[in-house]
């Protein structure tokens, strides 16, 4: 007989459209982070480090990269005879087939998966945050309070509280009320989108509310449980937790890793972050290379100068190149003599010789200023940038671009250059 005390359901189906071209071909949880990792590595590693060995990963948007990355879960020790990791895409049913229409709807469509493990508790996670958290401690809290639902919360500065879902609790941390993005917040405890449900409570709620369109945890399931009078508790988490949902927060979170003693420390022995690594060789630094305040992945060859940057695996940085304040993902090639300032360069990009990125005056992006801002240059995966062109700030480039795409060999600040073809 199969019995698991707690299983995890990891929501990894979203696009994360505010990451712009970074998620045009991959789901947000599969976006590279911190040199060699992908965002989903953090919740997956947390699961195995917390002793949760059964994880359903719900995928929908562009799942290929995610599927190949997860495989059968070998890097996380999640290849198990019973449990382990299972990728759960939406599927056709004899009636009412549909995509995952909301967070809770996705979980509802996988009731059979959860049922097969006969769990006591179900942990709901999302695949787009950078943090280390012991879910076992949260479960202990859940049990000690005889809660039916426990929501992980994090104190945020009061002035920012109106951006979050806010939990109002009594002195015992029992949730008395909650408000979504309130104008005048009554508490500063923000929901982190991490829930532990008693399986019975979750199942009952999902079955009762099955017909609700776009069934969502925050909007429907939690309020339903609250109205029913179920004990809801808030578990306060005070460690590092970063939402990397926008390009600027993604860039910042990466840059925080290069501090001398980073707040989020990847070098701790007893809470390893696991990932599928394809590239093993050490990195090579030439006679003329300079690397300062950087983290750099395996198999990278550096012939130029790199300052304050996060560089992935298998990257080549040519002679005379100067890279500053940038994120360079796996297998990027940067030709000789380039100057790269504050850029996010996605995987497998080829940059010609003498290219200058992030030069000129600030100007608001002309197509999507809410995505491309903070002076960043964003280059989508498998793009090509020809020799000797200059690119301004708040710009975005994707696809194979040629010299003809750059009038006077210059892409002005705020411009968008997206071509269909890729490498």
């Amino acid at each position: 007989m199969i019995k698991k005390e707690m299983i995890a359901m990891l929501l990894a189906g979203g696009q994360g459209s505010r990451l712009g071209v970074l998620t045009s071909k991959v789901a947000k949880p599969a976006v590279a982070f911190g040199g060699k990792y992908r965002i989903i590595d953090f919740p997956l590693s947390n699961c195995i480090n917390s002793g949760v060995d059964t994880v359903g990963v719900l995928t929908q948007y562009q799942p290929l990269r995610l599927n190949t990355h997860i495989g059968i879960g070998i890097p996380w020790d999640l290849d198990r005879n019973i449990g382990g990791v299972t990728v759960l895409p939406p599927y056709e049913k004899s009636a009412n087939s549909e995509w995952y229409t909301g967070t809770a709807n996705a979980i509802f469509q996988n009731l059979d998966y959860m049922e097969s493990f006969n769990p006591e508790y179900v942990l709901i996670l999302s695949g787009d945050h950078i943090y280390k958290m012991d879910y076992e401690v949260m479960l202990d809290f859940h049990k000690a309070n005889e809660a039916e639902v426990t929501i992980a919360v994090m104190p945020v500065p009061m002035e920012e509280a109106s951006r979050f879902g806010i939990m109002i609790t009594d002195e015992n941390r029992r949730i008395t009320d909650f408000e979504e993005k309130p104008e005048h917040p009554r508490s500063n405890l923000a929901s982190m989108g991490i829930y532990i449900f008693n399986w019975k409570t979750l199942k009952e709620a999902l079955l009762t509310m099955a017909d609700q369109p776009a069934l969502d945890f925050g909007k429907h399931v939690i309020p339903y449980c609250h109205e029913k009078g179920a004990p809801l508790y808030a578990y306060e988490f005070n460690g590092y937790w970063k939402d990397v949902g926008t390009l600027s927060s993604y860039w910042e979170a990466n840059m925080e890793l290069i501090d001398i003693v980073p707040e989020f420390n990847l070098y701790e022995e007893y809470w390893k972050i696991y990932t599928k690594s394809d590239i093993l060789p050490p990195q090579y630094m030439s006679w003329d290379s300079v690397v300062s305040r950087c983290i750099i992945g395996e198999g990278t060859n550096i012939y130029g100068k790199v300052y304050n940057s996060v560089v992935g695996c298998g990257v080549t940085i040519g002679e005379g190149v100067v890279v500053r304040d940038s994120i360079i993902m796996n297998n990027v090639v940067i030709g000789a003599g380039c100057e790269i300032n504050k850029a996010i360069i996605a995987e497998n990009v080829l940059i010609g010789k003498g290219v200058k990125l992030g030069v000129g005056d600030e100007a608001e992006n002309d197509t999507a200023p809410h995505i491309y801002n903070h002076g960043l240059v964003t280059v989508g995966e498998k793009s090509v940038i020809p020799d000797n062109v200059s690119v301004g700030k708040n710009t975005v480039i994707a696809g194979v671009t040629t010299a003809a795409d750059y009038a006077d060999a210059y892409l002005a600040s705020g411009k968008t250059l997206i071509k269909a073809e890729e490498r």
Binding site: G34, I74, P282, Q283, M285
Partner: protein
């Protein structure tokens, strides 16, 4: 593939000095991220040899840990797999492996229970890439009983620590001398052999009867005129690491672009056990020149012409020159190291100075380490 693999990984060697006290030579870290045995195992896997036995004996803890799963080299688990055989006490035997042939003899059942017609035998202390399919084709082509892989060594190589051979124009081996006092040829055996499985079983059984234990002396040399033993010459990079100078030299070879390109970029890849270490980190003050740095390192000082293995910490104002720093070494601030091999898991106190003068110095420093 029509062959199974045997990796001889049991040996120890005084030429490795302090470095082999801790581990079998096959478990020596090489080129930053690998262990010596990875090269042979990857070559086998890349040649579609799916069933491989590793014979270990001397100080095998480190090696066993490395060989924790067949997955790292992509060997199967049902259709083949990776087998690690240490000597075991049985009703008929309570001996250690008394030699390479004895190691095979003590595991003859494994050999008999296999069905593949050929066996590739290789040592685990060499750094090379090789397609064993081509070797096997050559072996069949020559109608050889045994084929020995060999290589002409560059002048200046210490030939005397290898097996040397002479051959006729058809590449049939006419003379074979193990560790000769004075070498008559600069062609050395690479310690890689192909042989028909049934032939091997037969010859090993004969050895057992006659109480002979060494594969080279009691099979290759003894049967040299009776059996058709052929040489298969390679020209590519091949280097045995089993002396301090060669070990150091092999690691330093990886600072050459053509060697890195050959092993790291060209097909096929070399595999190893993944250690799940974070990317290397360079703090202000780091200054790296012509060096290899592996994952998990944190560098605050100067590194020149060196190979730094995984998970090492190099403190502020340190200078590391022409050295090989093995895994998980902690080097305190203001340390100067030149021409050294620093043993893995060493902790070097701040302000130390180690210089190899007139040769490579091996540094073994086991101090208390206080980590945050």
């Amino acid at each position: 593939m029509r062959a199974i693999g045997i990796v001889l990984a049991g040996g120890n060697n005084h030429r490795m000095k302090e470095l082999s006290q801790k581990r079998a030579i096959c478990a020596m870290p090489v080129a930053g991220s690998y262990r010596s045995i990875d090269f042979t195992l990857s070559n086998m896997s890349n040649s579609h040899i799916q069933k491989v036995a590793v014979f270990t004996q001397y100080n095998s803890r480190s090696l066993n840990e490395h060989l924790s799963s067949s997955k790292w080299w992509d060997f199967g688990r049902k259709q083949g797999g990776l087998y690690v055989f240490t000597p075991a006490v049985t009703v008929n035997n309570s001996n250690w492996y008394r030699g390479t042939a004895d190691a095979i003899a003590q595991n003859l059942t494994w050999l008999k229970n296999s069905h593949e017609p050929y066996v590739v035998i290789a040592s685990g202390d060499c750094v090379y890439k090789m397609d064993f399919n081509k070797l096997l084709e050559y072996h069949i082509d020559k109608k050889a009983d045994i084929t020995v892989v060999c290589r002409d060594m560059e002048p200046g190589t210490e030939i005397e620590r290898f097996g040397t051979m002479k051959m006729n124009e058809e590449y049939r081996i006419t003379e074979f001398e193990e560790k000769p006092l004075q070498a008559k040829s600069n062609t050395v055996s690479c310690g890689i052999y192909v042989i028909r499985r049934r032939n091997l079983i037969e010859m090993i059984e004969k050895c057992v009867e006659e109480e002979r234990y060494d594969f080279v002396r009691d099979i290759l040399i003894r049967y040299k005129d009776m059996k058709r033993i052929y040489a298969y010459k390679i020209k590519e990079y091949w280097r045995n690491i089993a002396s301090v100078e060669d070990y150091y030299g092999t690691n330093m070879d990886f600072l050459k672009p053509e060697v890195r390109d050959y092993f790291f970029k060209q097909y096929p890849d070399i595999y190893s056990k993944v250690d799940d270490l974070p990317p290397a980190k360079y703090n202000p003050g780091a200054d790296i020149r012509n060096s290899l740095i592996s994952s998990g390192c944190i560098v605050n000082g100067v590194v020149e012409n060196s190979v730094i293995f995984k998970k090492s910490y190099i403190g502020n104002n340190c200078v590391i020159k022409n050295s090989v720093i093995l895994n998980d070494v902690y080097i305190g601030d203001n340390t100067y190291i030149e021409n050294c091999i620093v043993e893995s898991r060493d902790t070097i106190r701040a302000g130390s100075r180690f210089v190899g003068e007139g040769g490579i110095r091996i540094v073994v420093e086991k101090n208390e380490r206080y980590v945050m």
